[in-house]
């Protein structure tokens, strides 16, 4: 009962703050709404017994990525709002398309089937603690996908370095 109520609360808050995040005029307020949203997503993970994921959700998304967003928002001058030409000129056409998209997505919901049960039922996860269970699976059964993901991230890091570092001969090295 309590879990159900907590789930409802989290779900309502996620949808509500998500809507607020895209409708608020002030970008910093929008980012704050996303922060609240991330906290409630962490709450959902807690309901599922995934405590490690919940902590990582807050540390990585709320603690690092959103702070970086705020940094960009602060450093980019936001005096004048960016006005763009509408991609779809008629507002009604846009509404019809979005409603159609929503209907088609919702109509797909009944086809959702639960995946196969793994060899980590809830009791075993709780006994071994979630962090340990996740680590065991990731570094034994799924080591190859894990390494591939690591390699992709490494490529992204190197790409970021290459893009950020302009080799101009006039650059003076600071000690």
């Amino acid at each position: 009962m309590f879990t159900y109520l907590f789930f409802l609360y989290c779900a309502v808050m996620i949808v509500g703050t998500g809507l607020l995040a895209i409708t608020m005029r002030n970008p910093v307020h929008a980012v704050l709404m996303v922060l609240v949203l991330f906290f409630h997503m962490a709450g959902l993970y807690l309901i599922l017994g995934a405590e490690f994921l919940a902590a990582v959700q807050i540390i990585v998304y709320a603690g690092a990525i959103l702070v970086l967003y705020l940094f960009v928002l602060f450093l980019v001058s936001l005096r004048d709002e960016v006005k763009m030409d509408r991609f779809v000129t008629s507002a009604w056409l846009g509404r019809i398309i979005s409603v159609g998209l929503a209907v088609s997505l919702i109509s797909m919901l009944p086809t959702f089937v639960l995946g196969q049960k793994g060899h980590w039922p809830m009791a075993a996860v709780i006994k071994a603690t979630h962090t340990k269970a996740l680590g065991m699976e990731m570094y034994t059964s799924y080591i190859l996908p894990f390494e591939i993901a690591g390699l992709i991230l490494l490529i992204a890091v190197i790409g970021g370095l290459v893009l950020a570092k302009h080799d101009t001969p006039t650059t003076i090295e600071k000690s």
Partner: protein
């Protein structure tokens, strides 16, 4: 019934921590005073003992000024975010065996999450005040916290590897009661990194750039007055205490000591935390402030590689010795 007992425990902890915060300021002023060959607070009560109470009452009754151009809601919420995040992390600290409000399996990660949340308070205070000084203070704090959180997290990975758990109580138990069991000996590099990152995370001298008085008036807290200013102060002192507790738990063996004090089990914990606090204050009285680029280069070019090296070293030693 269980909820009621928990609620009473929370109230007791809250009261003790608030008293602690008040007297930590007294502790700091006295120590710095004596280090600088003056007396420190002397007027209110015997040797100024009632000074923190007087300060608290004074800040309660001061006018709460909100700047005209400020973003009012964010401005008002920022100090509360700071204090709440810091107070929440107290819930997972084991003060003695069984003396913990929430003995959760991800205690260490929880503390990281809360300390990164408290940086939002500082950032938002800087932005919402709509002033140059506070804004620069907020930006500095943001960059500093992001950089040093990485170093701090990595430095504690060695401790996690040795103890094999994230539960703070189990980390203390894994170190055992003996002097040689403390993780400060096998993890001396990690302790070095942790200690410097701890100073930077709590915005203390020599890394107090977000509130550098000589450049930024009072940094992010410039526009705050009365109780809201005091709340930032409380958050800073609770932050110091939480970081000292993490240092005590992860490196100094927590509540274990040379002999057991049965009437007050957290005795050794408190002693170690106060030793940390003393070093904090000692450093404040001794060292000048770092320059901002020096701060960044130490964080990224020295501390993070050191912490990564420590992880590799610990891994090798653990793999070869079992």
């Amino acid at each position: 019934m269980h909820v009621l007992i928990l609620f009473i425990e929370i109230l007791i902890l809250f009261a003790i921590i608030m008293l602690h915060v008040a007297y930590a300021t007294y502790f700091e002023r006295k120590i710095i005073g004596h280090m600088q060959v003056r007396m420190g607070p002397m007027r209110v009560g015997w040797h100024g003992l009632l000074q923190p109470i007087a300060d608290g009452i004074k800040s309660f009754f001061k006018e709460d000024v909100v700047p005209e151009q400020a973003d009012v809601v964010t401005f008002r919420a920022a100090p509360i975010i700071c204090l709440t995040a810091m107070l929440t992390s107290l819930a997972v600290l084991p003060f003695a065996k069984g003396w913990v409000l929430a003995d959760i399996n991800i205690g260490l990660l929880f503390i990281f999450a809360m300390s990164s949340l408290s940086s939002y308070g500082v950032i938002l205070a800087g932005w919402a005040s709509n002033s140059k000084y506070t804004f620069l203070g907020g930006l500095r704090s943001m960059a500093q916290v992001i950089s040093y959180e990485v170093a701090m997290g990595l430095s504690l990975v060695g401790v996690m590897m040795l103890s094999g758990t994230l539960n703070l109580t189990k980390i203390v138990e894994a170190q055992g009661g003996s002097f040689g069991g403390m993780y400060i000996f096998p993890q001396i590099i990690a302790f070095f990194v942790f200690f410097i990152a701890m100073l930077a995370e709590t915005n203390r001298v020599p890394f107090d750039l977000p509130e550098a008085e000589t450049e930024l008036v009072s940094g992010y807290a410039t526009e705050y007055s009365g109780m809201r200013y005091a709340i930032f102060f409380m958050a800073e002192y609770i932050g110091m205490m939480v970081m000292s507790s993490i240092g005590t738990i992860c490196f100094l063996g927590g509540w274990n000591g040379p002999f057991e004090v049965t009437i007050f089990p957290p005795f050794w914990f408190v002693v170690k935390v106060y030793a940390f606090m003393f070093v904090f204050i000692w450093i404040r009285a001794t060292l000048p402030r770092y320059r901002y680029d020096q701060l960044m280069s130490i964080g990224w070019k020295v501390l993070i590689p050191l912490a990564l090296g420590n992880i590799v070293l610990t891994g090798f030693i653990k793999a070869f010795t079992g």
